[in-house]
Symmetry: C3
Subunit: 263 residues, 3 copies
C-alpha cells in the first residue's frame, strides 16, 4: 500500500502531497498526521519559506471518506468529536504556522478538502478547478472551518447558497473575489505555488510571519486592539535586523538581501 502522504523538499518550499488518488485524495489518518508533521518541520526550519499543499494525480482533496464516516455511526458522540478534532487541530496548525501555507488546487477541493484549501494563507487554483462544500447532500454538516472560512469573504446569502445546495463554485469566481490569488492553466497550479514559495524566500522571514498573524487577528479584533498589535510589532521590527537591511538597501538604492536571515 502506498504512503498516504508524500513530503518533498523543493528548494525553500516544503510540499505535502495528499496521496490517496484512487479515492480522489479523500482524507486519511495518515495524510492528516503527515500534514501536522510537515507544518511542524516548517515552523522550526528557517530555510523553509513556505509550505505547499497539493494532491496526487490532479485532484486536491475530496474531503472525508464516506466509507469511513458511515462507520462512525457506531461510535459514541465523544469519540466522533475526537475524530473531527484531529482534522481541526490540523486546520489550527495551518493557521498557527509562522510560514505561509499555499494551497495548489487542481481538479477540485470538496468538503473538508475545501476547508483545508481555504484555511491556507494563499491559494493557487487551476482555471478548471472547483470548490464545493457539499456536506448537506449526504445529510452531514460542514466541518474543518468551512463556515468560518467562507464567511471571511462571502456575503451570508452566498454562504447559505454554497452550504445548502452544495453546488460547485468555479475557481474563477473565487479568483474574482480575491480568495484565489493566482489562476493557472490546468496542471500548472503546483508550479505557480512553488514560484510563490520561492518569491517568499526573498522576503523578510520575521516580517512575513507577523503579516500572517496580523491578517488573522484583524478578523476578530476591534480597531483599537489591532492598532496596538501593529504598534508593538512595528516597534520591534524597527529595531530588528530585517529592517536594518531593508531600509539600508532602499537608501543605498540596492536590492535588499533578506536570505541571510534564513541561515
Amino acid at each position: 500500500m502506498d504512503d498516504p502522504a508524500i513530503i518533498e523538499r523543493h528548494g525553500p518550499v516544503l510540499k505535502i502531497i495528499n496521496n490517496n488518488p484512487s479515492a480522489r485524495n479523500a482524507l486519511t489518518v495518515g495524510y492528516v498526521a503527515a500534514l501536522m508533521e510537515g507544518l511542524d518541520r516548517a515552523r522550526d526550519d528557517t530555510s523553509i519559506s513556505a509550505v505547499v499543499l497539493a494532491g496526487a494525480s490532479g485532484f486536491f482533496c475530496a474531503g472525508g471518506d464516506l466509507n469511513v464516516l458511515i462507520e462512525r455511526r457506531e461510535m459514541e458522540v465523544e469519540a466522533r468529536i475526537a475524530s473531527i478534532n484531529v482534522l481541526h487541530d490540523a486546520i489550527k496548525a495551518i493557521r498557527a504556522c509562522p510560514k505561509p501555507v499555499i494551497a495548489a488546487v487542481e481538479g477540485g477541493a470538496a468538503g473538508a478538502g475545501a476547508s483545508i484549501a481555504l484555511a491556507c494563507d494563499l491559494v493557487v487554483a487551476a482555471r478548471d478547478a472547483y470548490f464545493a462544500v457539499s456536506y448537506l447532500r449526504v445529510g452531514l454538516t460542514p466541518d474543518g472551518g468551512a463556515t468560518a472560512f467562507l464567511s471571511e469573504f462571502a456575503p451570508r446569502q452566498l454562504v447559505n447558497e454554497i452550504l445548502m445546495f452544495g453546488d460547485k463554485v468555479p475557481a474563477e469566481r473565487l479568483f474574482q473575489l480575491g480568495v484565489v490569488n493566482r489562476l493557472t492553466d490546468a496542471g500548472s497550479a503546483e508550479q505557480e505555488a512553488q514560484a510563490l514559495g520561492e518569491r517568499l524566500y526573498q522576503c523578510a522571514p520575521k516580517a512575513v510571519a507577523v503579516a500572517k498573524s496580523l491578517a488573522q487577528d484583524a478578523r476578530q479584533n476591534d480597531l483599537a486592539t489591532q492598532l496596538d498589535l501593529e504598534a508593538q510589532q512595528m516597534a520591534r521590527a524597527q529595531g530588528g535586523d530585517e529592517a536594518a537591511e531593508g531600509i539600508s538597501a532602499f537608501l543605498e538604492k540596492r536590492s535588499a538581501d533578506f536570505t541571510r536571515f534564513r541561515k
Copy 2:
C-alpha cells in the same frame, strides 16, 4: 379594507405577502404581525421547507410609512423604541427561524424594506429592482439591522455611501457581490423563490437548519469557537437519520430521499 398581509401555502413553501400596495407596501402593524405568525408556523411545521417574503403588485416594500412616523414625534422616547423593537423582533425571528427565509424582490426594497430583504437567508431579485437605505434623506437614521446587514458584504466606504446619500443600489450590483443569489426577469422573482423553496424541500431539513445557524454564527465567532460548533454539529449529524440516508444513497449510487424526514 384589505388585509395588510396574505399568507399562502404553495406546496412546501409558505409565502407571506405584504399587501399594502397603495403605499408601495409600506410597513404596517398588521404586516409585521403576520410576518411573526408565518415564521412561527414555519418553525414547527416540518412540511414547510422555506418561507418566501414578497410584496403585492410588483413592489417589495417601501419601508416605514412617513405619515405614521411623523406622529411618533409626540411619543415618549421609550414608546418610540418599543415601536422600533416590534420591527426588530421580526428581524430576529427571520434570523432565528430554522427554515430558510427567501426574499423575492420586485420593484424595490427601501428603508426597513431593504433591512427585511437583507435579513433573509437567500435573496432573489428582479433585474430592474433596486435596494435603497434612504433614511437620511428624511432626516432619520437606519433601523431594521440595515447597518449590520450592509456591513456583512460591503466595505465601510460603500456602506457610508449607501447610507449617507441614499442612492438606489441596483439588484445587479448586489448580484455581483453575491448578496442577491438569483437575478430574474421582471415579474419572475416570486417564481424563482418558489423554485428555490422546492429545491430546499429535497434537502436534509436538520442539516439545512444547522447550515443557516452556522452561517450566522460564523460572523461573530473566532475560529476556535466556530470549529467547536462545527465539531458538535457534525458529530450529531454523523449519528443522525439524515446522514444514514444520505451516505447510504451515495454509496449505493442512488439519489438520497430526505423528504421522509418532513413527515
Copy 3:
C-alpha cells in the same frame, strides 16, 4: 522651509493637504499635527460638512520617511511605540470625527499613506492611482491600521498577498470592490472629493454623524447589539428637528432644507 501641511477652507469643505512633495508627501510630525488640528476644527464647526485629505503635487502620501525611521533604531522600544501612537491617534481621530473624512488620492497611497486613505469614510481616487502596503519590502511590518482596514473588504488570502509581496493595488480594483467610491480622471480626484463634500452639506448633519458611527460599530457588534444601537438612534432621530424637516418636506413634495441645521 515650506509648511508641512496646508489647511484650506473651500465652502463647506475643510481641506488638509500634505505638503512635503519633494519626498512624495512622506509623513512628517507637522503634517500629522495639522491633521489632528483640522479634524478638531471640523468636529466643532457646524458649517463644515466634510474634511478632504489630499497631497501636494499629484501624490497622496508615500508613508513613513525611511530616513527618519532608520534613526528610530537607536530609540528605546517604548519611545518607538510612542512615535507610532502619534500616527495611530490621528487614525483614531479620523474614525471619531463626526464629519465624513474623504480621501482624494492622486498618484499613490503607500505604507501609512494607504492606512490614512483607507481609514477615511469615503475614498475618491484617480484612475491611474495605486495603493501599496509595502512595509515588508524594507523589513518592516504594517501600521496605521493597514491590516484592520484591508481586512474590512478583502479576503484573508488577498490581504496576505498585499502585505507579503507589497505589490501595487490599482485604484480600479478597489473601485470594483466598493472601497473607492469614485474613480476620476487623473488630476480630478480633489474636485470630485469637493463635490461629495458639497453634496454632504445638503444632508442632515446629525444623521450623517450617526450613519458614520453605525457603519463603524457594525464591524464589531453582534446583530442584537447593533439593532439596539439602531433603535436608540432612530428613536432620537424621530423626535429631532432634522426628521421634522425631512418628513414634512417629503409629505409636502418639496426638497428638504437641512442647511438650516448648519448654523
